[in-house]
Amino acid sequence: MPPFPGSALSLLQNMNSSPTSNTNGSTKSRPRQLVQARAVQRFKWSVLSVLIVVLVAVLFPVLMLQLYFSFHGYSVYGGSWWDAEFVGLELFEEVVTDPRLGWAIIRSLLFATGSTIGCFVIGFGLALLMYRPFRGQAFYYILFILPMLTVPIVIAYTGEMLLYQKGPVNDLLSSIFGRQVNILWLANADTALLTVMVLEVWNWVPFSFIIMMAGLAALPDEPIEAAKILGASKWRVFVEIQLPLLRPVIVLALILRFLEAIAEFPKAWSLFQGGPGSATETIPTYLYIVTWQYFEISKGAAMSYVILLIMVAIVLLAIQILRREKIGLDQIYDSRKETTA
């Protein structure tokens, strides 16, 4: 495909939009801007200080207590936790060499990747259908976000009823394909994780939908209009203008959903409790089993820290990606400002 002269970057760089009030250099507006900036700053700190207090007062002691357990071999059957023996890194060694945790991490990554992609593709598709105003839009909007407002456990049990071998989903698939479909959604070790994935997608498509709706609504009209005037097809407008401009929003939607999916517990536990076999033993499930079925509080605490470190690494990577995307977008908009100036 030949490069389209009106692709996102070039269009924004070359466009002549109307000048904004900021570029007038009005001296009167400067004190007002200063006041505004201070107000924003005050607001930021008033919100942040509450969060910091909560973090220090609630989360920090919990994290410290968990750290204490991670280094002490506390047994619920062996007296007080404050008398537990110091074991150094022994528990961490046990955790990182535990093959069940290894498999749980693999399952969680598979699950999070699959469900994130599923949520995004459907959510983005719906957003593309919905972002331009049309009659009855509000009704569809409410309809599409309903699953997100439903408690995950309800999603799980509703899904269970739909997914029995002789349930409506297999019936529907049978009539679509014209032959008997008998997928064992709830009993086959090869499909169980996929089942939770499907339910997760059902539950959280609205999340991706809302983010992408917001992203699409915030796109500037000018490059799209210009491309259309220059004769670009809808597909080319989408691929060469909308998609590149949406990249930061897409990355954000994917990252947030991925992080949320890693922590999925209610559906997997209520439907499978780790089974069939160990097919749905994901990180949260295994962590629960170790801590609250085996009552290995110390091992559970050490495991939580290991998982926390993995999650921090994923989040740092995500922040890095987001920052790069933001810089890219800032460059586009800065060059646009320079051009207009």
Binding site: V76, Y77, A187, S278
Partner: protein
């Protein structure tokens, strides 16, 4: 009419009373004194309403007996936290870790007694029982399920035990009988061994007619319950006297084989099914047979809730000749019982409340509730009670005989951990994630680690309590 009482009439009256008291009639008099003893002791303990952790499905049948206790003693149950009986062990352990006095009693599986007592949560109840003159009058050896290291830690409310049930209507069909006899060279009869049961299930397996012969559970959390029955009836016991696991033995492998064999006659969705899925199939007649918790009998025989009223026959759980002698072993898990919080200020009062629920009269009311059949018969008197009979009907003798051979799961500290390792490996073998021959060696490996972690010495000291729960008979009388 003279009001005078002659010496002769007093002597005659005394003799008559003495003669009457030797007859087996005075059950009502005993019941009254049983309750009076509890009330007298409870009154001396003062009066503040209690707070318990109990599943409302169980509490609904117990609640009607509380007002009478409150009227007599000044306290009853003030509030409950309504949690599933399957989640209470975790919640109770959290209370143990924090040494919380928040709850006065917990209603949960008594097989958790070793773990919770080891965690310091449970109050021994013997002294309160002595004070109230109360004794658990359970069938067979069932009362021992409440004991650990010589102390009583629980008061039973539910005689959960697996009974065998199979479709009488199908077995009485002459064509079926003839076909079976022609194929197997022996008459169709109630199964005495697991092999008999398998043969019958294979015969009646009719997926084309919607009948998947076996109604036994094979999901990860529950399936292991069945394995215990196969294992124990083959003469197996999971540890030697030095706490080395003894699963990978001929008896263990026989149990795994029996467990996996049933896949042929189980519904393809069985690996994912628990009670919510299986009970409707049992009550709608979509299976031929199963071993199931005895509460299912009450449901099956209730024509308002079931299509199978009168169609099942109930009896002793099949046994095994594997060890060289015929042994029948049923399983009791979970056995719902009241356990009292040692950290509670109301522990004594909670103990009397628990005893109140376990008297002959009150337990009959609780067990005889034919709407919520969560509490099943356990008291010797339940098996002579018309009220209980109305709920369990023909199934009542079966419950009695299965209680006589009731066995526990791993009645040791660490029950859930031991059990989940075995359950996971069995489930993996059932769904093809693991080879059958690896199930027991892998479980043994995991169990050795658990023994090391909890402490060999501690667990060895518990072995006697575990063994004491086993039935004294191999075949009930």
């Amino acid at each position: 009419m003279s009001n005078k009482i002659s010496r002769r009439s007093v002597v005659n009256g005394g003799l008559t009373m003495a003669a009457l008291s030797s007859l087996p009639m005075p059950r009502m008099a005993f019941a009254a004194s049983e309750e009076e003893g509890i009330i007298a002791a409870a009154k001396s303990a003062g009066g503040t309403d209690l707070k318990g952790m109990i599943w409302s499905n169980y509490y609904v049948a117990m609640k009607p007996t509380v007002p009478a206790f409150k009227q007599a003693t000044g306290y009853g149950v003030g509030s409950i936290q309504d949690i599933s009986v399957f989640s209470i062990p975790q919640r109770a352990m959290a209370e143990a870790i924090t040494r919380s006095p928040e709850f006065d009693f917990f209603h949960l599986d008594s097989n958790m007694i070793p773990s919770l007592a080891s965690a310091g949560l449970l109050e021994p109840l013997d002294k309160y029982m002595d004070k109230a003159g109360f004794k658990l009058n359970a069938v067979g050896n069932f009362g021992n399920f409440m004991k650990y290291k010589g102390n009583t830690y629980g008061i039973v409310t539910d005689g959960n035990v697996h009974v065998h049930m199979c479709r009488k209507d199908m077995m009485e069909n002459p064509e079926e009988q003839k076909g079976f006899e022609d194929k197997h060279g022996k008459k169709m009869a109630y199964p005495e061994t697991w092999e008999d049961d398998q043969r019958l299930m294979e015969w009646f397996h009719r997926p084309d007619k919607g009948i998947w012969s076996s109604g036994n559970l094979r999901n990860r959390p529950n399936g292991v319950t069945w394995w215990y029955m196969y294992f124990y009836s083959a003469g197996g016991f999971p540890f030697d006297d030095d706490m080395n696991p003894t699963l990978n033995t001929p008896a263990g492998n026989y149990a795994v084989e029996t467990y996996l064999n049933m896949k042929k006659v189980s519904h393809p969705e069985a690996p994912g099914w628990g009670t919510p899925q299986m009970i409707p199939r049992i009550a709608s007649g979509k299976i031929y047979s199963c071993q199931y918790w005895d509460g299912a009998i009450g449901l099956n025989e209730n024509p308002k809730k079931s299509k199978t009223a009168g169609k099942y026959t109930y009896g002793l759980i099949p046994g095994s000749d594997f060890s060289g002698k015929r042994m029948h072993r049923s399983i009791s898990s979970p056995v719902a019982a009241i356990l009292v919080n040692r950290y509670s200020k109301n522990k004594e009062r909670a103990a009397y409340m628990a005893m109140w629920w376990a008297t002959q009269k009150n337990s009959e009311t609780i067990v005889g509730d034919n709407v919520n059949t969560f509490h099943d018969p356990w008291h010797v008197a339940h098996f002579k009670s018309d009220k209980v009979y109305q709920t369990y009907k023909a199934g009542l003798p079966a419950i009695n005989s299965c209680l006589q051979v009731a066995s526990p799961p791993i009645y040791l500290t660490g029950l859930l951990e031991f059990q989940d390792q075995l359950a996971k490996n069995l489930s993996e073998a059932y769904v093809g994630q693991r080879k059958a021959k690896d199930v027991l060696p892998e479980t043994e490996k995991a169990w050795k680690k658990i023994v090391r972690k909890i402490g060999k010495k501690k667990l060895k000291a518990e072995l006697a309590s575990y063994k004491a729960l086993f039935p004294k008979v191999n075949v009930p009388g």
